[in-house]
C-alpha cells in the first residue's frame, strides 16, 4: 500500500512540475499548455481537460500560478496563466527532487553499486 500512495504523490508531483515549467518563461492558456505537453513529450503524455483544469485551478489557489482574462482585439478573451515568485521557488525545488529521483531510478534499474 505504501507503494501506491507514493506513486500517486509522485504523479501529482510530476504534473505540477510540468505545468510550472511550461509557464516559467511566458504566460500561457490552458489549451496551449496541454498542446505543448503533448508535443514535447512526443505524444507520450496527454492531459485530458478534465484532469488539466482542476490541476490549474489548484495551483492557482496555492498561489503558484496566476490566471487572468486577456482580451486581444478581434479575438475572444482567453484565460492565461503565468508563474508567480513563489511558484518559481516551488519549481526549483521540484526540479531538484525530480533529478534526484531520476538518478535513483537509474541506479536501481542500472548497475547496483552497493
Amino acid at each position: 500500500m505504501a507503494v501506491t500512495r507514493d506513486a500517486r504523490e509522485l504523479k501529482k508531483g510530476s504534473a505540477e512540475l510540468l505545468i510550472l515549467s511550461l509557464v516559467e518563461d511566458r504566460a500561457r492558456h490552458g489549451y496551449d499548455i496541454a498542446r505543448l505537453i503533448e508535443i514535447r513529450s512526443r505524444g507520450e503524455l496527454h492531459f485530458y481537460a478534465a484532469s488539466l483544469y482542476p490541476l490549474l485551478y489548484r495551483l492557482e489557489r496555492r498561489g503558484w500560478i496566476e490566471g487572468r482574462w486577456i482580451e486581444k482585439t478581434g479575438l475572444r478573451r482567453r484565460r492565461v496563466y503565468r508563474i508567480t515568485a513563489q511558484g518559481r521557488k516551488v519549481l526549483a525545488a521540484h526540479r531538484r527532487g525530480w533529478q534526484a529521483f531520476v538518478r535513483a531510478i537509474n541506479r536501481v534499474t542500472g548497475l547496483e553499486t552497493t
Binding site: H29, Y31, A49, P54, Y57, R76, R78, A93, A100, A104
Partner: protein, 930 residues
Amino acid sequence: MKPLMPEWKREIQARLAGAGLRPEREREVIEEFAQHLEDRYRDLIGRGVPEVDAVAETRRELDAARFDRDIARAVLDPPPAPAPPPADGLPARQWVSGLWQDVRYAARALRRTPGFLIASTATVALSTGPTIAAIGVANWLFFRPLPGVVSPERMAVVWFGTWSEEGSFSPSRVSYAHLADMRARLTTIGAITGHTQASINLALETAPPRVVAGWFVMANFFDVLGVRFQEGRGFRPDEDSNPGGESVVVLSADLARSLFPDGPAAGRIVRVNGLAFQVVGVTSPSFRGSVVGRPADLWLPGLTSPRVNHFPAGSQAYGPDRGPFSDFLVRLSPGATFEQADAELRAAARALGDRQIPETEKYRTVQPTLFPEAGLDPFARGIGWNFTRLLLGIGALLVVLGAANLANLFVFRSVTRGQEAAVRRALGASGGRLVRLQLAESVLVSGLGALAGLGVAVAAKAWLDGAIVPGIGRFEIAIDWRLLAIAIAMAAGVGILLSAAPARLAARTTLTGDLSRTSRSATRSTGRLRTSLAVVQLALSLMLLVGALLFIQTLHNLRRVDLGIDLRGVSTFRFASRGQAYTPERTIQFYRDLLERLPHAPGVEAVAAANLVPVEGVTYGLRVLPPAEAASTIGKPNREAFQAALRVLSNEVTPAYFQSMGMQIIAGRTFTDAETYVSGVEPAVVISASLAERLYGATNAVGRPVTFPAQGGLPRHDAPVIGVVTDVRWGRPSRPIEHVIYLPFGGSATSVNQVLIVRSSRPPAEVTRLVDAEVSRLDPALPVARDQTMTAILDQQLAQQRVNAWALGVLAGLGFLLAAVGIHGLVAQIAADRMREFGIRLALGATPRQIVVLVLRTALFVIAIGAPLGLVLAGLGSQLVKSRLFGITPLDMAVYIVATLALAAVVVLASLGPARRASRVDPVNVLRVD
C-alpha cells in the same frame, strides 16, 4: 470554413451541475473549457481526422469519473496542506507559527503510533522519575535550606562540650549569663539562640494524651531564625528570663490544625507533661523545625525545662554555671566568615575560662565547636552525604539506560518513516524542516515523559515520606521549584540530545537510501548505531542485575543471622512516664502492676520488662572483673581495678524476660520475684554463655561469683551467677557476639529506660489494644510513647540494606525491560532489512529454522560483546560497594553466572518474535515488493 461542432457549453454545464459553483465562476469555467474543446476539435480536423472521430476524441477530453467533483475540489476547497510548504528561511512571525504547526503535526504523528508513544514516554518517565526523587532527597538534605528559616547558609551549629580522644562528644550546658558574656565579645556573630529536643506528653481536656516532638528554645529563637507566624507570636524575652520560665507554648501548624481543627489555637490551654500551658502562637506551615529530619511539633521556653521534666523540687532552676542548652544556632554578621566566627567564639570561651572563678572553671576544657550551615545535625552529615551519593548514582545510571533506549526507539522510528521523509523531500521539504519536525517530536515525548517522571517522583514521595532513616531522622523527598526546574531541564536536554542522531539521519535521508530498500548504505550505519546501543544496554543491565543479586543476598543473609532470640510474635512498648512526673519508684511500681495483670490475658505467652531490647542497638555497659584480675586487684585503688576490668553489655530484666525473648536457659535458672525489684546491690546475676566462657572457661558458671569494681555509685562487690543463657547478637546482625550480663529489674533507681515486652500469638494490633486497655486502667493520662514489634525493629536496623536491595532490584528490572525492548527493535529492524534475502533463501530451499538461527545471530552477537563487558563492569562496580555486602563476596561466582544466564534468556526471548516472523515470510510476497 466553420466546422460543425456540438454545443460544448451545454454539455459542460450539464456535467458541472453537481459542482456547486457560484454562477459567475461557473460561467467562467464553462467558457474556458468550451474554448479548450473548440481548439482541440479544430486541431484534430486540421490534422485530417474525420469529423466523427474528432468529435468523439474531443468529447473524451471531458471524461473523468467525477469531473464535477474534481473541479469543485480545485475551485472551492482550501488548498491541501498535508505536505509542508517547501519554503526555507521564513520571516520570524511565520517561523513561530511554523513551529506551532510543527508541534501540532508532531502530536498528530505521535498519536498515529501509540506503541512508540507509550514506549518512549514510559522510558523517559521510568528513568527520570527515580532520578528526580533522588534529587528530591538531596534537596531535602542539602540544597533546600531549612524551610521557613531565613538564610540558613549564613547560620552555623555550635556545640559546647568536650571531645574525647576516640571522637565521641560530651555536651556541656551553658548558662544564659555566660552566654550573654560571650555574646558581648562577638562581632562576627549577630545572634545566638539555643535549642534542645524533648519528648513531650501533650493532652487536651478533650483529647487523649499523645507524645509529640517538643523543643526547648531561647526566647529569641524565632527571631534569629526568621520564622513567620500563622497565628500569634513567638516568645517574649520576659517569658524566658525568670527561673522556671513562663507557661507559654508555640505550636507547629500541623499540630495546631490537628488539635484545634475548627478554630484558632492562640489563647487556648494545653497540658504539657501534665502542666497547663497557654498557646501564644502557631508557626507558618512551611517551618518544620531547626534540624533537618527532626520535625518539631511545639516549642517551649528553655527555662521551663526543669519544670516540664518534673525534676525534683530542689533542682527546679539552673545553677549559675549551667543552663538548658549545649546546642546552639548562631547567625553570622554580614560579611563575616565561618572561620572568623569560630575563632572569635573560642576566644570568648577562653576569656571566660581565664576569669579564674569557680563558675567559669569549666571553660578551660569546655570549648565551642562550630559547624558551618544550619540544617543537618553534624553527626548526620556524613551519613546523609553517603546516602545521597548512592541515590544520585543510581539515578544517573537510570538516566543513561533510559537515554540509550530512547535513542534506540527514535532511530528505529526514523528509519521506518524514512520512505515518508524521502517523498516529502522529493516534493520540496527541506532538510531543515525535517529536522525541526524531528525535534518537535522528541521534545514532545521527553516533555510528556518528564511530566510522567514527576508523577513517579511524587508517588515515591507519598510512599517513602516519613520513614525513619537511621542516623538522620524522618525521610522526606522535598519537591519544590528547584526540582521542577531540574525536571524541565532534564526533559529538554534529553529530548534535544536524543533527537540529534535521528534528526541528522532524517535530514540526510536521500531518496537513494530509503525509497529503494535494497540499498544498504543508510541502514548499515543505523544498524551499527543500534547494535552498539543494544550492547551498552545489555552491559549496563547485567551490571545492575549482579548488583541487585548481591544486595538481595546480603539482605537475605542478614535476615537469616541467628540473633539468639526468637523475634516472632514479640512486641515492645515504651511509656512516656517521665512526662507524667513519674518518680523512679512509681515507674517501677507501674511495671510491677502491669506485669501482674497482663500475663492473664488470653493469647499472651510471656510478659516482661527490661531496660533495653536487643537489635535496637542501644547499649548499657558495665565493668566486670575476671577472676584473675579480681584477685590481683584486691586492696588496690579502684582506678586500677576499673582499668583491668572487662566492659560488657548489661540489661536489667524481670524473670520472664528470657522466655519472652525466646532465649534458652543453658544452666541454672532465671531470677525469682524476690530477687527482682530490689534496689542497691543485686542479689544475683545471669550471664551469657560467651561471658561464662570468658570468665570461667566453661558455660556452667552457676554458683560462681562475678566481681564488679566500684562504679555507678556502688562500691566494689560480688554477685553470684544463678543462670547462664544463650548468646544474643546485640545491635545490627552484622556485629559480632558480645558479652551480656543480666541484672534483676528495678535495681538501679536511676535507670531511665524501660520497655515492656509481650510475647503473644495474637496479631500485633490486638496486643497493642490489650496493653493500651491495661495501661489506661492503671493510669489514664499515660500515653504510649512507642510500640513496635521486634520484627519491625530488625527491619529498621536493616533499612539501609533494604533500600539497597530494593533500589537495585527495581533498577535491574527496568534495565532488563529497556534492554529487551532495545534488542527486540534491533533484531526486528535487521530482520526487516534482510527480508528479500530470507525470501530468496527460503525459495532456494532453506528451512524456517535456519532463518531463525540467522536472525538470532545478531542477538547472540550482542550477548557475546555485551555480556563480558557487563561482567567486567559488574566486577569493578561491586568492589565499590564491598563494604555494604554481608556474607557474600563481591565476585561471588554463582551470582555472576545466574545473572548472565538470565540476561541471555531475556535476549533470546526478545529476539524470538522477529526471528519467527522472518522465518514465516512468504518468498513470493517478499520478492515482489520492489
